[in-house]
């Protein structure tokens, strides 16, 4: 098995007046684990269905392995799709499910049974081949779906939120397994999800989408640390948000005047003085202690303290503005509720952007 590049060229989709996907250019590398992350209705599933061939784009094209896929039906594309509900065939045995794609290609029974056996081993389901899908656990069914898709040796595997039906523990376990399978097979994985945890842990690169537009394509670290748009900043991870006006610039930093005082932050959009702006700082980047070179400080009242094991979440209020801080269990010192605290964060940990749409809470 091997992966192929997937290139989207000015790909767009309209349903009547509704634009599901704005013209999008995107290059997904061969053998990459690529995720498309976004809230429901952002157009990610539409993109997936255009790649798989179930939808014909309104405009633009999908190129897989240098071959333009326009006019090629789903059953003739080198892609295999894993459905959100898996769509296993309930009346066939697990083995027949896995061998179905080979059967459809007219592969001899002996060969396809051997291949099915091989795949059963690959997904660690030896000995389960004669069961019906309904007799398996959720995680096992997941693996059957993957084996079924891999049986036809696709160069691109498309996964449509396949983990969403599983419980949390299993989901976390399956993330590792999927990543592992992807490495073993070298197939290009395109993974659609609204769960940022999934996208960030598994992917080589992530595309964040909103309202039919791809807002940022980058590695997980990059997306988390350096979001490009207010939507990406607010959608991925938690943020404390301060609104204000730019009152000065200093190298790559902007100075923002807010209701809680002046804050320094990275000037991501190159804003000038006088412009409205918005500042994001992550809860774990804030501290109750002043550290060297941290220019930004504000005072807030401790309202609630949630103990989460390794972390402690402190919910505070600065004026009318809620502020959250995550501290590790190690560094925190218990303080009584209702006391006034001084909070600190570094300018390099905050980012200032032009106001835009935020992810809804």
């Amino acid at each position: 098995m091997h992966g192929n590049d997937v290139i989207l060229e000015k790909l767009s989709m309209r349903f009547g007046d509704f634009v599901a996907v704005q013209p999008t250019d995107l290059k997904i590398n061969a053998g990459e684990f690529f995720s498309i992350l976004g809230p429901s209705g952002c157009g990610k599933t539409t993109i997936l269905r255009m790649i798989s061939g179930f939808l014909s784009p309104s405009q633009g094209s999908v190129v897989i392995g240098e071959k333009d896929m326009s006019g090629i039906r789903a059953n003739a594309r080198p892609t295999a799709l894993i459905f959100q509900n898996l769509a296993l065939f309930p009346l066939m045995s697990v083995r027949d499910n896995i061998a179905f794609g080979l059967e459809a290609r007219g592969v001899a029974k002996k060969t396809r049974m051997e291949k099915a056996q091989e795949l059963l081993s690959l997904v660690a389901l030896d000995g389960q081949g004669d069961k019906r899908p309904a007799e398996l656990s959720g995680g096992q069914r997941q693996r059957v779906a993957i084996a079924r898709a891999l049986a036809v040796e696709p160069s691109v595997l498309l996964l449509d939120e396949p983990l969403s039906a599983l419980d949390l523990k299993l989901r976390q376990h399956m993330r590792a397994e999927l990543k592992d399978l992807q490495r073993k097979t070298g197939v290009t994985f395109i993974y659609i999800t609204h769960d940022q945890g999934e996208a960030l842990t598994m992917s080589d690169r992530v595309a964040v989408m909103n309202k039919g537009v791809v807002e940022q394509v980058a590695t997980s670290d990059e997306i988390y640390a350096h979001p490009k748009t207010p939507f990406v900043a607010s959608f991925v991870g938690e943020q404390n948000i301060f609104k204000g006006k730019v009152v000065g610039k200093e190298e790559d930093f902007a100075i923002l005047e807010t209701s809680q005082g002046k804050f320094f932050g990275q000037n991501a959009h190159g804003l000038n003085e006088g412009e409205d702006a918005i500042l994001f700082v992550r809860p774990e980047r804030m501290s109750l202690e002043e550290k060297q070179g941290w220019q930004n400080g504000l005072s807030a009242i401790l309202e609630r303290r949630d103990m989460e094991g390794p972390f402690v979440n402190l919910h505070m209020r600065a004026g009318d503005q809620p502020v959250a801080i995550h501290v590790t269990n190690v560094e925190q010192t218990p303080r009584p509720l209702g006391t006034d605290q001084k909070l600190w964060f570094a300018a390099r940990d905050a980012v200032v952007m032009r106001p835009g749409e935020l992810a809804s809470e």
């Binding site: 179930f54 059953n75 003739a76 459905f83 769509a87 459809a104």
Partner: protein
Amino acid sequence: MNSLIKSYGKGLTSLFLGLTAIWIVVLIVLPQISMIDRAFTYQDRGGAAATLAVKIDRAYEEVFQINTRLAEIQAEKEDLAAGTSAGPKKEGASALNPFGTPSPSDDTASLNPFGTPSVPEVNDTSDLNPFGAPSAGSASAVSRSLAGIEAEEAPLLAKKGELEAQIATLEAAEKSTSGAVALDTSYSLRNFTMMSSVHLQIFLATIIYALCVTILSFALCYPVAYAVAMTTNRNKLAILMLGLLIPYAINELLRIFSWIMILEKQGVLNGLLDLLGIINMEAGEGFRFVASNGAVFTVMIYAYVLFMVFPIYNTVDTLDKNQIEAAKDLGASTWRIHWRVVLPHAKPGIAVGAIMTFMLSAGSIAVPSAVGRGLHPDWFSQVIYRRFFEADNWNQGAAYSLALLVACIIFILFNMWIFRVGIRDIAK
């Protein structure tokens, strides 16, 4: 039982049990037992009393018919007297009447329960009309003069008097023998074994035709059920559902009747052939399609096809559409998708559709009796009807009904086995 009392309490539980028991015993089991009892009870129809009883019944029936006809003639006369022209209504009415048109053929005569003046033999086989198409029996009457009406009335009156006299003698004869010579009855298989080879042939032909109707209906319906189930556009779906529901809800007989308009000698089909220049209707050419078994067959498919569509639609509709896409995505051809994914899923629906269609067509009396009106070979349901109401041999009728029922049960069991479905999948 405890769970019932826990749910409903003693009083309600016994009420429900009582009602259900009445239903099972009085409406289902006892009638079946009576039928089975009769089916295995042989009555010696040669017995004098039996023959008498049959003759008396028949005579009464004829008198009743004559009276009905006389009343109509009276009405007709009044109309004429009132100066109203013999308008379309009356023409229509006389066209409806079996007496107005003496049947030219003996074959059809015995098919027509009211049209036969003589008492037919009791164990007859002549109620089969094996080969198709005698000449028209029911040409519509034209408007008639008063004289014409009276000409018809006179013999009827005479006949009526004759019959009434006959009844009196017969009843006297019956009274004298009453009690002494009852029907000789005994349990035996003779009601079945006595089934003449003609009746057996009809029985087998009916079963085979019903099977063909079932298979053809399936072939016709499956694409439709599939297409409707796959329709995602709400407006299109609503229109398609309406298109299926409307003919389904319209009465069976009217659906049959609508086809008679096509198959009649003066029907649409002959009209079409005339247009194409194949026949010349002006010259009186034309096929009597209604007189053929093919017509019964065609109309039967039309009448019962929708009983196949809905069960299949209902199951295909529950198929997860992703499964079809998954199969497609894995490279399956259309044919394979149906064979491996859609059809296996639709099995319970196919079983239900097949059972309903088979049962309706094997037991249909509406289609064969209405299409061609006795001009084509008999259907088994008609034979049963005649055993009951013409030959007045209820025991043999019961035996024949039982045979039909057994055929249906075998078909149901066969379907349950082949489609691997339980009774709960079938009756939902």
